[in-house]
Structure formats: structure tokens, C-alpha cells
Symmetry: C2
Subunit: 363 residues, 2 copies
């Protein structure tokens, strides 16, 4: 785990955007729009204060926030910037107490940087951590769900400031209801869910992931000719194959983007062929019908030369990539975690084999 | 308009259930389930107080409530009885003031009687009036919409007490978002929308429709051998055709029931054939390709012998019916009203011709 940073300025933000694509597992949305919004917000309002839970009183309220929906839509359906105020107001009114801090829902792509914009515009600090330690496609795939913590009162807000507050029977119902609302709103929207006091957040929080992502971004920025090797030093990287993207199939429906990419081996992997399947995030890598890696471990296509992560909606024919895997946060590797985000939760009838068991590190 | 009643006991409730099917235009859901719930609630809690707007202070809050969705689903997806408490709590919390009275959203079928159950269980009085003066299938088809009064904060609640609070950009967005939520909830749910103070409600309210429906029910109950003639004395009735249902086609999707029925003339109408098309409510009656009557006028299939209304989900082969039309409330017959609920609002490229212009009364 990295040293906890206390502030996000422009450089940290740029590093964060890069780091978020590496540990996102292909999801969380392309960070470009969020990065521009956050840069603008920081220029207008100054750096964002990054806090730890101990900086808050036990009873203070934290709202995890991010976009939900299909990342393919997020590229062009751009937030207005007013969503965070609506999210905070709606939840604060329902709970009868003010929001003390924001936090990223997931540490991936757009959703790693957009909360920075929201913290800057609302003046609220941002908690250094998140609820996935990567990105996942569905709302019950957040660590609080493992501890029976409800995702509600949770709110979905679109760029017209239309707010929908959900108080469902359970977190899976929340996913179902929010997903159809998001689909009706055009395929993506902003959300604030799993509002928690600092005391409650202590158990589910995956801490310091914001600092971690900024650290990864800065390592890649400062790496010389071998960014993949430098990246492996910062975070254990298990390369599955080096190759060229030769086919991509993608469809956007029901508030998700689903599809697959075929990668043909190059360099030392010539003659191999791998297929990556995704639902917003990369779920599985298959070779000759066998799984090389699966969720919950983090599967990311890294640019062969820059080590930047490639989000699923930006996979394109001809890209030279390293299919890389990273260990999932430990909370997801328990039996309870695997029930929610293991391969079977996504319909794959295979057992989860931890990536470090099946593969060697880059060195 | 009838004399305003001040209380709904068991007899009034039974009459209300019958009256609601006559003026519903085929919609609002089969009243049976709502009637049983309301009877039970009245037996446990005593009669419901029926009030007029002048019985409230200007600033007191009224919540119009009813089920939304497909009436075919309402027959078997039964409310828990807890929905009204959730509706009132959610709206009161959002607006920061208590709910002083309930009111039927529409005067039709189930939706005319269910608010009686809710008033009895919450102990709140019920306003003598509604926002349609009949039943219509969509949420923007309420009189407040004609005056720019927002339907939100509005809430949808299902029998699991799952609550969804909507604050959309306009009433048409509300319809769109609530409809997909209801569809996800299984096809129907309870709702509280267009919360208004008594002062605001004064303009859109269609007054005394609860008393009117009870009056109609009691006229039918007390009628001798000619209930249709008695009914015509209570409310001007324009009979379009007497016939037998020879075909019904119905499909439930997207939170509506849509379909059509074919009626073959009997008695004096032998040789004629009429087609009725519906979206929850009857929209148009066609004969030889020409419209005999259209929305917003109220088109109801009345039982040939009892003069009870037949809701669209209960139309069955072999029923002997009178296809009857009634004048719509005047608010719907203005150009602004016709924009929202005229034949073109439902996709029919025909002009609205008031039923009293085209047809004679029963006598």
C-alpha cells in the first residue's frame, strides 16, 4: 500500500487518471471527460483534500459516488457538473444530516477521477479509498454488500439534474431498479450509493486506493524505457500474453456494454490466441477454451509500450497490448466475496484460481 | 354533480366500487382486490372521512395516490397494505411537512377504492375529487399537468415496501421513469404523485367525483329492470351499440395492457361490428374504419343487464354489452387538454368530436 497523500492537485490528478486505468480491469469508463472536469474544478476551487477515515468523527456521513451505466455511453453523455450537489442534497434530506465527505465508489477509469471534480465543486473532502479496489459492473459488487450494509438511500442523477432516490428491499433489487432507470435515462448517469457513517465505513473500506492509483500513475510517468517492469515493482503484475488486438465485438444494452476482444500473440507469444470477454469490465481471459484468469482478479489490457490501461470501450483493432492480471483485493477472494464477484456470479462455470497460483510475475 | 358526502362506510364503499367501473373508461384496474382491502380497513378502523378542499388550510399537504401499471397484473399482484404509510413518509420527509389528506389519482376501478383503504389505515381524510375525472393510462394525463404543476416529488412503492422517489425534469420524464420502474417491479405498483397544498389543488381538482361515483353505484343498486335508463338519468349516457363480445386480444408489456375487443351487434344493432382499442383504458371505438367515439370522452363497456362497467382486463368472449360513452370532464375538452389526452396523444390521426355532438342519449 502506498503512503497516504493528503491533497490532490493537478499533477496528482493526471497521475490518478493513468493509475485508474491500470487497476480498473478495463472498466470504470474512459477517464478523459472526468479528468477534464476535475482539472477545471481544481483550477477554479483549489486542490482537493484527501482524508482518511480517522480524520472524520464516527457519526459523520460519507457518500460514495460515481457514474453507473455503459462506459460506451459515458464517452459522449457528459455530466453537467451539478450532479454532486443534487446527490448530497437528496441523501442529506432523506437522512436528516449533512454529507461530510465524498469517496469514489470504485477505483477505475472515469470513476476514479470524477469524484475529485465533485469534491472540488462541493468543497467536501474525499476519502482515500473505495468500495471495490478495482471496477465492477454492478451495484451489489461493492464491499459493504459483503457485510450486509445497504446501498440505500441511494440516488441516481442525470445531467438534467433529474434525481431518483431508491429505498429497495436489498442490494440486488437496487441494482435491478437503478439499472433500468439508468437505461431509461439514456445508458449512463451519476450515482451516490452506500451512504455510511465513518464508523460503519471502517469495515468495508478498501483504504488508500486513491493514493495507490496516484502512485501507479507517477511510476508510469517516471518510468524510462521499461514501464511494464517499473509498474511490476509498484504493483505485482502477472503478464498473461503479449499480442495484437485482431477483433473486437461490443454491444451496449440495458445499461451495460458487453462484448469480447481477440488478441493474437506477438513477440515471444507468437502462435497464441486469447479471447477476453467483458461486461463493462474484463471478466475472463480464455485460451484454447481454458481460463487463463478470471474475476475477481483484475484483468487489464496494458498498452505494450506505455503501460497505460486500455478501458474496454477503447479497445481497437491493431493495438499492441500486454494482457495483464493483478491480484484482487483480499475481500473479494473469500468465499463470500467470490459468491458476489467470482466467475460464477457472471455465468462462467469455472473455478476461481488466484492469478499468483497460475502465473509468474513479469520478472 | 352529486351532493358531497362526508363519510365512506361499507355501503358507500360498495357503491363506489360499482360507480368507479362505469366512469373509468375500462381502466383503473378491477376493483375487487381494492374493495376487499378497503372493506377490511373500514371494519378495523371505522368509516373514512370524505372532505372538501375548504376543510383544509391552504398550506396543508394532499397526496393523490393510486396504483400504476398494467391492470392485468393488478389482479394478482396484491398490495401489502403498507404502501400508503411508505408513500406518506417518503413525501413528508422530502417536503419537510406532514401529509394532511389523501386523494384518488383517478376515479376508476381499483384506483377509486384503494385510496379508501389507505385513508382508513393511515387515519387521514380523503379529498372528494380526483385528477382525471375518469381513468387514463399515463402520469402526465392528470389535470395538474395542464397548469404546469409538477408530479414530483412522487413516489412508487411496491408490496415489499420498496420505495423509489422521483424528481424528474418534467411530468413526461416522470411517466417514462416511473413506467420502467413499475415494469421492473413486476408490472404494477402503488404511487403517490402530484403532492399539492390545498391552495394549489384548487385549480386542477375535479371536485366531488368520489360522491358522484358513489351516487352512480347507488342508482345502479336501486334500479329496477332498466338500470341503463336509471343510469342515464344520473349521468348522461350515449349508447353507441348493443352487442356481444366476439374477440379479445390483450398483451401486457412495459407496464401497460394494450389490446382490442370486437363486439358484434345484437338486438337493434344486429349486423353491426365495432372494434374497441385500449391502453389500460378504452381509447377509441371504430366501426367501418370510422371513429364512433374517442378519448378523452369516457368509453365504457357496460354489462347489458346490470349496467356495471367492465374493465378492459375482464372483457371476455360472449359478454353482452352496451358500448357506452360519457362526456369527459371539461378540462380535457380544451385544446390544452386534447393535446395531452386527445386521440392524437394516443397515436390516432382523427379529430376529437364530442360525444354529444355525434350521438343521442339513451332516451
Amino acid at each position: 500500500m502506498s503512503r497516504h497523500l493528503t491533497e490532490i492537485g493537478e499533477q496528482e490528478l493526471i497521475d490518478l487518471a493513468v493509475g485508474c486505468t491500470v487497476l480498473a480491469g478495463g472498466g470504470g469508463g474512459d477517464p478523459r471527460v472526468g479528468l477534464l472536469m476535475a482539472l477545471n474544478a481544481i483550477r477554479n476551487n483549489g486542490p482537493v483534500r484527501l482524508i482518511e477515515l480517522d480524520d472524520l468523527d464516527d457519526e459523520e456521513l460519507i457518500v460514495p459516488a460515481g457514474m453507473i451505466g455503459a462506459p460506451t455511453v459515458m464517452i459522449e453523455k457528459i455530466p453537467s457538473g451539478l450532479e454532486s450537489a443534487v446527490i448530497c442534497d437528496t441523501i442529506a434530506t432523506r437522512l436528516g444530516k449533512p454529507v461530510s465527505a465524498l469517496m469514489p465508489l470504485e477505483m477505475g477509469g472515469l470513476n476514479g477521477v470524477l469524484p475529485v471534480a465533485w469534491s472540488a465543486t462541493t468543497g467536501l473532502p474525499m476519502v482515500d479509498g473505495d468500495l471495490m479496489g478495482r471496477a465492477f459492473p454492478e451495484l451489489q459488487m461493492c464491499t459493504p454488500h459483503l457485510y450486509g450494509i445497504p446501498a440505500w438511500p441511494g440516488v441516481v442523477v442525470d445531467e438534467r439534474s433529474q434525481a431518483i432516490l431508491f429505498e429497495p428491499a436489498d442490494n440486488v433489487w437496487f441494482e435491478r431498479l437503478a439499472r433500468t432507470a439508468v437505461s431509461t435515462l439514456g445508458g449512463c448517469a451519476c450515482s451516490g450509493i452506500y451512504p455510511m457513517t465513518a464508523a460503519v465505513a471502517r469495515t468495508p473500506l478498501i483504504p488508500r486506493t486513491v493514493s495507490d492509483a496516484i502512485h501507479i500513475g507517477s511510476v508510469i510517468r517516471n518510468a524510462g524505457d521499461e514501464p511494464l517492469r517499473e509498474l511490476d515493482r509498484a504493483v505485482a503484475l502477472y503478464p498473461l500474453m503479449t499480442g495484437k488486438v485482431v477483433d473486437v465485438e461490443r454491444h451496449t444494452a440495458g445499461g451495460f456494454v458487453r462484448g469480447s476482444a481477440i488478441v493474437e500473440g506477438i513477440e515471444g507469444d507468437r502462435g497464441r490466441l486469447a479471447r477476453i470477454e467483458f461486461q463493462n469490465e474484463n471478466l475472463i481471459v480464455l485460451e484454447d477454451g481454458e481460463a487463463l484468469a478470471t474475476v475477481p482478479d483484475i484483468i487489464t489490457l496494458l498498452d505494450r509500450y506505455t503501460a497505460h490501461g486500455i478501458v474496454t470501450e477503447q479497445i481497437r483493432y491493431g493495438q499492441r497490448v500486454v494482457i495483464a492480471a493483478f491480484r484482487a483485493p483480499e475481500q473479494w477472494r473469500t468465499p463470500a466475496g467470490l459468491d458476489v464477484v467470482g466467475p460464477r456470479a457472471f455465468g462462467y462455470d469455472v473455478d476461481y484460481i488466484p492469478v499468483e497460483v497460475a502465473h509468474a510475475r513479469i520478472g
